[in-house]
């Protein structure tokens, strides 16, 4: 039946670059990023919107790419974890995650980084409660969250200094 359905043509912007792709209607944005575009930072943890490992930013807002169709990226601006660093220079969030050892297996990390960036873009000086509430949609089975919260606080402080 897949052959009967025509592919959807999508023009979008990913990490600042214009990108065009063809995808099947039933492919999610996560499928397209990972399988067609080689952007394997976003992970599939659950596929049901629960874990946040697939988080990407679409038009300035963090979403679960496992529940967005590839076709829905038409005309949008998508940022993935691959878009955080500037050349060889890590984003302050990435740097602080390393310094604070805010990851173990790392499966949740790209999602946390992307969600934390979206959080700090809107609220540069969040309280601990705001960080925990804002990142509640990202699950981590390893770290116990505390180091992640500290890393985000430290990155926020550094980013405020500019």
């Amino acid at each position: 039946m897949g052959e009967m359905m025509s592919k959807v043509k999508v023009s979008t912007t990913i990490n600042g670059d214009p990108v065009e792709y063809l995808c099947d209607a039933e492919e999610t944005l996560l499928d397209v990023l990972r399988d067609h575009l080689g952007l394997t930072g976003a992970k599939e943890g659950c596929g049901t919107g629960d874990c946040g490992a697939c988080s990407v930013v679409v038009d300035g807002r963090v979403v679960c790419s496992c529940l967005v169709l590839g076709a829905e990226a038409e005309g949008r601006k998508v940022t993935t974890v691959e878009g955080l660093a500037t050349g060889d220079r890590l984003h302050p969030l990435q740097q602080k995650f390393l310094e604070f050892a805010a990851l173990q297996c790392g499966v949740c990390t790209p999602g946390f980084l992307v969600a934390a960036k979206a959080l700090l873009d809107r609220n540069p000086d969040p309280t601990e409660t705001e960080i925990r509430f804002g990142l509640a949609g990202n699950l981590c089975r390893c770290t116990g969250y505390d180091k992640i919260v500290r890393a985000v606080q430290a990155a926020a402080a550094e980013m405020r200094k500019g």
């Binding site: 099947d24 209607a25 039933e26 946040g52 979403v63 679960c64 076709a71």
Partner: protein, 332 residues
């Protein structure tokens, strides 16, 4: 996911016209229910009509019109939860939205789709369970004699005891909200309370929305009770979880006496539950601890628990009791 045809609609008219012709279609808004259930192979639409383009028009706006709030169906949960008018004048709506899901899901999910979210009953969501009347009419109910800790105690039938999981709709039925509906044959309105159907012996017919009909907007009338309103949600963990029990309460008080009361219950019923028995208890009386307790008793008088969810009676009552007393204390 099974293959389907993907189409985009850029106006309400185009959306309902597309839906009226061709193979059975579903509208795609945030996809947080629809794509989820298509991946699980529970929903199998032949066509999806992407209505996110409608957000560029009135369906994407929050407006105040003649004292009433008009929420476009494509407004997302985060947008509505943070809107200053919603927060100030209809706090129960902002509360219900803020306490729902995660930032990611609130960014994606539309208000129209939110009302139409499906139950989280694990037997419904997992096709490997053979019995589920809601998913497969006449197949039986896996939950009735299975695991039913999360299931409903109000509005249940022998065919289905699945909980309606949403938060917003509970606040909307309490506030007498009205839905603007568009179909291929024109526009009409429907009370928010008429949207969901009790399961009775046809749990698979979940709403009174005909196939192809579009929810364009939600209208919430303002009353002297809308400012003194709140949504209290109790769950297994503090955030990012569906309600075990919740209460939407809106009160108009004068010197501690209740002039008007609106009460909705969530997490405990098969549909967004308007607790009229509770409202009747309250009106014309002084709201104190005793009245709150009596009101909660009345609200659950008709409850019918199953094997694992009898705790929801006590929890639901205490939730409503606390919500009433908190609302009475609100500084306006």
């Amino acid at each position: 996911m099974r293959p389907f045809l993907y189409e985009r609609a850029t106006s309400e008219c185009a959306a309902v016209q597309l839906a009226a012709s061709g193979a059975p279609a579903q509208f795609l808004a945030g996809g947080t229910t629809l794509i989820d259930l298509m991946k699980l192979d529970v929903l199998r639409p032949a066509r999806l009509i992407d209505i996110n383009g409608l957000a560029a028009g009135a369906a994407g706006l929050i407006e105040e019109r003649e004292g009433a709030l008009r929420l476009g169906a494509l407004v997302d949960m985060a947008q509505a939860a943070e809107h200053p008018v919603v927060r100030r004048k209809f706090p129960v709506l902002a509360d219900a939205l803020r306490q729902a899901a995660s930032q990611q899901v609130r960014n994606m999910a539309s208000l129209g789709g939110n009302l139409l979210q499906r139950t989280r009953c694990p037997y419904y969501r997992d096709r490997s369970w053979p019995a589920c009347n809601r998913r497969k009419p006449g197949s039986g109910c896996g939950a009735l004699h299975g695991q039913n800790r999360g299931h409903a105690v109000l509005g249940v039938s022998d065919a289905c005891i699945a909980t309606y999981p949403g938060d917003l709709a509970v606040a909307l039925v309490a506030l007498d909200a009205v839905l603007e509906i568009i179909g291929a044959d024109g526009a009409r309105t429907m009370g928010a309370a008429e949207l969901h159907r009790l399961p009775a012996d046809t749990p698979h017919v979940e709403t009174n929305l005909a196939p192809g009909q579009l929810i364009a907007a939600i209208r919430v009338p303002a009353g002297p009770w809308t400012r003194r309103s709140l949504y209290l949600k109790v769950r297994d963990r503090e955030s990012y979880q569906f309600a075990l029990a919740s209460a939407a309460v809106a009160l108009d008080l004068s010197d501690g006496m209740v002039r008007h009361a609106r009460v909705g219950l969530g997490g405990v019923a098969t549909i967004p539950w308007r607790a009229t028995a509770a409202e009747d208890q309250l009106v014309g009386r002084r709201l104190d601890g005793e009245l709150a307790r009596a009101t909660a008793e009345a609200a659950f008088a008709a409850a019918r628990p199953a094997r694992h969810n009898a705790f929801k009676l006590g929890l639901g009552k205490r939730t409503l009791e606390r919500a009433l007393l908190q609302a009475a204390q609100m500084e306006l």
